[in-house]
Amino acid sequence: MSETHATPVSEQDADQATGQTTPGETNEQVQAEWLEYEFQGDAKVSATDVNVHYGDDHALHDISMDIPEHSVTALIGPSGCGKSTFLRCLNRMNDRIKSARVDGSVELDGMEIYQDGVNLVELRKRVGMVFQAPNPFPKSIRDNISYGPRKHGEIETGLVSRLLGRDDQEQEDELVERTLRQAALWDEVKDRLDDNALGLSGGQQQRLCIARALATDPEVLLMDEPASALDPIATSKIEDLIEELAEDYTVIVVTHNMQQAARISDQTAVFLTGGHLVEYGDTEQIFENPESQRVEDYITGKFG
């Protein structure tokens, strides 16, 4: 586990804290309420002064955080405060939105991903994403999972490949089984791998999407409210899954469900209205003894 070194917050900051964002409260004052979160080893993902504008709307303000390897980091906060926006910065999915402008730096294993010459295909191979609403392709379960590796040219099957003696059918079968087991879906679908994925239940579809993301062998897994569209039983399955995945991957989860964050994550980052990161630290510490008054108010339900 990682160590925490607390930097004590001054008394006057505690008096300043209010339940809502006070207009005029500057970034420095907000940042001063943070805990500096330190841990052993290098950061897997490291963000520095990330700002996002959607047209004129300043959606994220000076977000800086370091995320350690092989852990679960939860991003919590009321709706609309930029958690998903930040998540999408980490695999450059914000590039898809034409009016979005991203400033600042995001590093993966020490390499800046917002510089020229970055291979987006390679980036998204290493940083996988699971969306809020399950979005399987209208293809078979097998084809959903092997989609990523096929597109990267790693798996080739078919008549021609067989003729040339380099058919990858075995690799595909092995990949499908492995990722479905990782996603705790194998037993439920192993007999119908060629059925259309749209015929699965919501919870199964979401687990399929997780398996699909794992199939590209990522290092980081981004999950945007993965269980919000699911019933409680499916949700708890996903939560168990996330905890297991942290052993092999670096998982970053956006959730609006504080209890969920408290259950599954090692670190928690609290975003508050206006796209500000208010506090980031060890989950236990955030929930039991947050440094910032605003975070305490949010957690105890005074707002949000």
């Binding site: 998204r124 979005n135 989609y147 990523g148 597109k151």
Partner: protein
């Protein structure tokens, strides 16, 4: 979408009399027009009187009934077209029997001897449509992909209206250009022996059907849900891979419908074919000679209606029946396919 006020009015006796009167008078008018044209004006005046009265006294009910009549008129017109076309073509069918479409060796068309076989024209329509679709389908779908997925906004704002305007150019203008430019070019540069060829018509019709395919395919492609595409990109696929492996398969029915509509447009194209082709009702030799010169169903009708009477005119109507039935079947098929696509995407179109 009937409202409460609508239901409240039902139950009072007199309004339905107005509706019934309207229905009867308009039916009588139509009947009179069809059977005894001279008497049409009387039921028509009666209809107008009833409508006027109903408008002032029971406007709500009258409005609804009138609009029902208007809606029924679309069905009526289609029915009338079918009936009259078939009726007028019966004499030709009686003379020729099934040979009218099945006779495959010449001679084919000799009005003086009452010989009417449509096979060369059917073949001509088939070849020109095939050539046209080979041009319009791939280029049209590629164009649709460009407009909806690849083009930057300024290019899209320019290209969409441009494609619509391309659809607007009248077919006679296309025919004129083909006549003045393409035919002489084929004769001079490519030593084609006749003035006019199926491939020239095929190319021109292909350009004419292109905008149809582009518009309908573009609608289908644009209606693929964004999250599906996002999912593909997040897995490290490129935009192009997403287009070919996710978007087009998801929009496949819509794209098929677009191509079918293009086919329908190509089959029905008249004036370009009439102007560009020569007017010989023979099969090209050899059969696959796209540089050959024969008529299409549409150019046959357009070029001969003026001199045709009696059984020859009836044979032209027979050609019209073949056209009409073919296009109707294609239209229904593409509607079915589009409906199925809406279902498949979960009704999220």
């Amino acid at each position: 979408m009937s409202t409460i006020s609508d239901r409240v009015q039902i139950g009072t006796g007199r309004p339905s009399v107005v509706s019934a009167a309207l229905a009867m008078t308009i039916a009588a008018t139509v009947l009179a027009f069809l059977v005894v044209p001279g008497l049409t004006v009387y039921p028509l005046v009666a209809f107008m009187v009833v409508a006027a009265y109903g408008w002032y006294a029971h406007q709500e009910e009258t409005a609804r009934s009138l609009m029902f009549v208007m809606t029924a008129s679309t069905v009526l017109i289609l029915a009338l077209i079918t009936v009259y076309l078939v009726v007028k073509s019966i004499p030709a069918f009686r003379i020729m029997g099934v040979d009218i479409v099945l006779k495959t060796n010449g001679p084919f068309w000799n009005p003086r001897e009452k010989l009417y076989a449509l096979f060369p024209m059917i073949w001509g329509t088939l070849i020109t449509t095939l050539i046209a679709i080979c041009i319009a389908a791939p280029l049209g779908v590629a164009g649709a992909l460009f407009i909806s997925e690849i083009a930057p906004r300024w290019a899209r704002e320019l290209l969409k209206p441009a494609v619509e305007m391309l659809a607007g150019i009248p077919s006679i203008v296309y025919g004129f250009i083909g006549f003045v430019i393409i035919n002489p070019y084929m004769m001079n540069e490519l030593s084609v022996s006749t003035f006019g060829s199926l491939i020239a018509v095929g190319i021109v019709i292909g350009v004419m059907a292109l905008p149809t395919v582009v518009s309908v395919a573009e609608d289908a492609i644009a209606s693929v849900p964004g999250p599906m595409k996002d999912g593909s990109l997040a897995l490290g696929a490129t935009n192009w891979q997403t287009m070919t492996d996710v978007t087009i398969p998801a929009a496949f029915s819509g794209v098929t419908a677009a191509v079918l509509l293009g086919v329908g447009r190509a089959i029905g194209e008249t004036m370009a074919a009439t102007v560009i082709l020569g007017h010989a009702q023979v099969l090209p030799e050899p059969l696959y000679n796209v540089f050959g010169n024969t008529e299409t169903l549409t150019s046959l009708i357009a070029s001969q209606y003026g001199i045709a009477s009696g059984s020859q005119l009836s044979a032209l109507f027979a050609a019209g029946v073949v056209l009409f039935v073919t296009v109707l079947v294609i239209s229904i098929a593409s509607q079915r396919i589009e409906a199925r696509m809406k279902q498949k995407l979960g009704g999220e179109v």
